[in-house]
């Protein structure tokens, strides 16, 4: 997908003094800009779509130069053919859903992305005659997505696509986004401060912090590194484990992390799920205990040890264990000393099934 290659190299300084100075290249597929709020993610989107003009730098998409400050060249937003789904949707309140969807078709006409197909894929059939004020948040997001798609964009930008939605809705929107990507091979770039959203949707991620790119690469490794980096400033890491090949076994479900078995309580909706658990719910032992009430035993080796002191909890040690994915455990400094934990130590992690949250 040569046409979807996006080269971004821009400086933009707000009057408030915040300065974005970022450079990255995306090769298509689903990519994400990740970082805390205020790191400049949305500014990048505005620059790409043309609502802001960089003070220096250039943005290139495929063979097209979208903007080049040195050459004094700038394609206005309405001719860039880049779709954007805003965080607050920005549907036109005075137009019906159908008229909202058709707004961008006036220029692009009917292309490979057809009206009926969009209505079908995004399940908008029942909403066409309604007005935006009569729709729920999730419905509005789907309409905004459909409206952007119908302009036949070369690239679809999404600002916090899952923000402000209830858990159940997030899952549906994710499903719809994945469907859109598969159905039309639409390259997407999403912006999020939410690890779950990024891990579930994107293949490639660019991590932004205070206006600059601090890391980029394949999603899982990059986000693990990002977690490591922000450890010392945050209240602590959260574990998000990807469980594959999940199937029903009696009253519980069984799946795998890498080549190790993993058990979940109750029924699980799909064959790949994510679970969240707090590092304080992960216990470490040096040698495996054969019979114990905790069923999840994950073998791995310590890949990092971070000591953090906070006013509330005193001194705690976070231990990162590579069990195929990075898993964080919280231990006390004395336990850490007594166990002789250091990088490379082989340990077994025990996790209570009840301590785990299924992420949907």
């Amino acid at each position: 997908m040569r046409d979807a290659r996006l080269e971004f190299r821009c400086c933009y300084e707000y009057r408030s003094g915040f300065r974005l100075d970022a450079e990255f290249t995306l090769e298509g597929g689903i990519c994400a800009l990740f970082g805390p709020s205020g790191s400049g993610k949305s500014t990048c989107l505005s620059l790409i779509v043309g609502l802001l003009k960089p003070q220096a730098g250039a943005i290139r998409m495929g063979d097209t130069v979208l903007v080049d400050c040195a050459g004094g060249h700038c394609i206005p937003s309405h001719r860039r053919r880049i779709g954007m789904v805003f965080q607050d949707h920005l549907l036109f309140p005075h137009r019906s859903v159908a008229a909202n969807l058709r707004y961008g078709m006036a220029r692009s006409g009917e292309g490979t992305i057809r009206f009926d197909e969009v209505v079908d894929v995004l399940e908008l059939g029942d909403l066409l005659d309604r007005y935006p004020a009569q729709l729920s948040g999730g419905q509005q997001r789907r309409v905004a997505l459909g409206r952007a798609l119908l302009t036949q964009p070369r690239l679809l930008l999404m600002d916090e696509p899952l923000n402000g939605l209830e858990e159940a809705l997030r899952d549906r929107i994710l499903e719809h986004l994945q469907r859109v990507h598969e159905h039309w091979q639409m390259p997407m770039l999403l912006v999020s401060h939410d690890q779950v959203a990024v891990r579930r949707l994107a293949e490639h991620v660019v991590v932004l912090e205070r206006g600059s790119v601090v890391d980029q690469g394949p999603v899982n490794q990059t986000l693990d590194r990002a977690t490591l980096q922000t450890l010392s400033t945050h209240p602590g890491p959260t574990n998000l484990l990807r469980i594959e090949q999940v199937h029903q076994v009696g009253d519980h479900s069984a799946g795998r992390i890498g080549d190790q078995p993993f058990y979940l309580r109750g029924r699980v909706p799909s064959s790949t799920v994510y679970v969240r658990c707090a590092p304080s719910d992960v216990a470490l032992v040096l040698e495996d205990v054969p019979v114990i009430s905790m069923r999840n035993h994950l073998r791995g080796s310590v890949c990092d040890i971070v000591c953090v002191s906070s006013e509330s909890a005193g001194e705690v040690v976070y231990v990162a264990i590579d069990v195929g994915q990075v898993l964080w455990a919280q231990v006390t400094p004395s336990a850490c000393r007594e166990m002789g934990l250091q990088k490379g130590t082989r340990v077994v992690c025990l996790i209570k099934a009840s301590a785990m949250d299924l992420v949907t």
Partner: protein
């Protein structure tokens, strides 16, 4: 024309006032809308200077505005000369002069009403429309105008009412020629000065009140209908 309890000259004044006010509003509504949009959406050096000049007619005595217009549009004034020589249009001491005076006096009021409405709508809707491939002109007509419609209605009503009442600037640039430039306020003033004019003046005062109230009611109805449409959605 004669009817109700108005005589021919009184009818003339009423019709003239209505025509002057209508023409003044219709001609100044488009530029007032554009200027309001420009001021509401753009930041540029010298913006406060533009705002000051725009609001001058609001604070200057109308007679002074009228004098300046007379200088500008007179047959020796630079704009008046151009219009006279190139288009053969005379402004001063014609009904057109009265319309120009009304338009200039009402202009800042209209801009203000429309600007408030534009500031009240979410400007990012315009940005969203741009990203959907709509040309800025199309965005203006399909997103901005419909969403700021109540401001345009309010501006037009306000401008119309102000035009009907215009006196000072009108008498300077258009004079008070019976049947040609003697609008209702001028008619009332002239009638009061003449020995038997009290009754005429009173009738005209009543008509003025009716027209002003009518304009307000029409505006209210239009705005309520717009609001009801939005509430339904």
């Amino acid at each position: 024309m004669q009817g109700f309890w108005l005589d021919a000259s009184e009818w003339q004044a009423v019709c003239l006032s209505l025509r002057v006010a209508t023409v003044a509003v219709l001609c100044s509504l488009p530029p007032a809308t554009l200027l309001a949009w420009w001021l509401a959406r753009k930041d540029f050096p010298g913006k406060s200077a533009v705002e000051t000049v725009l609001n001058l007619p609001l604070v200057l005595p109308p007679v002074v505005t009228g004098y300046l217009l007379l200088v500008l549009f007179g047959t020796q004034g630079w704009l008046g000369r151009v219009l006279d020589q190139w288009l053969g249009v005379r402004i001063v001491f014609t009904w057109r002069g009265a319309a120009v005076a009304s338009a200039v006096i009402a202009f800042p009021l209209m801009v203000r009403a429309i600007r408030v409405a534009l500031a009240g709508m979410d400007a990012r809707l315009e940005q969203a429309a741009l990203t959907l491939g709509a040309h800025p002109i199309r965005v203006f007509f399909t997103v901005t105008l419909p969403l700021a419609r109540h401001g345009l209605i309010a501006g037009a009503i306000l401008g119309f009412a102000r035009s009907i009442g215009e006196f000072g600037a009108t008498i300077m640039i258009a004079g008070s020629i019976p049947g040609q430039t003697r609008t209702m306020p001028l008619y009332i003033f002239t009638a009061i000065e003449s020995p038997d004019g009290i009754a005429r003046a009173q009738r005209m005062v009543i008509v003025s009140i009716l027209i002003a109230a009518g304009a307000l009611i029409v505006g209210e109805i239009l705005e309520r209908r717009a609001r009801r449409q939005r509430a339904m959605r």
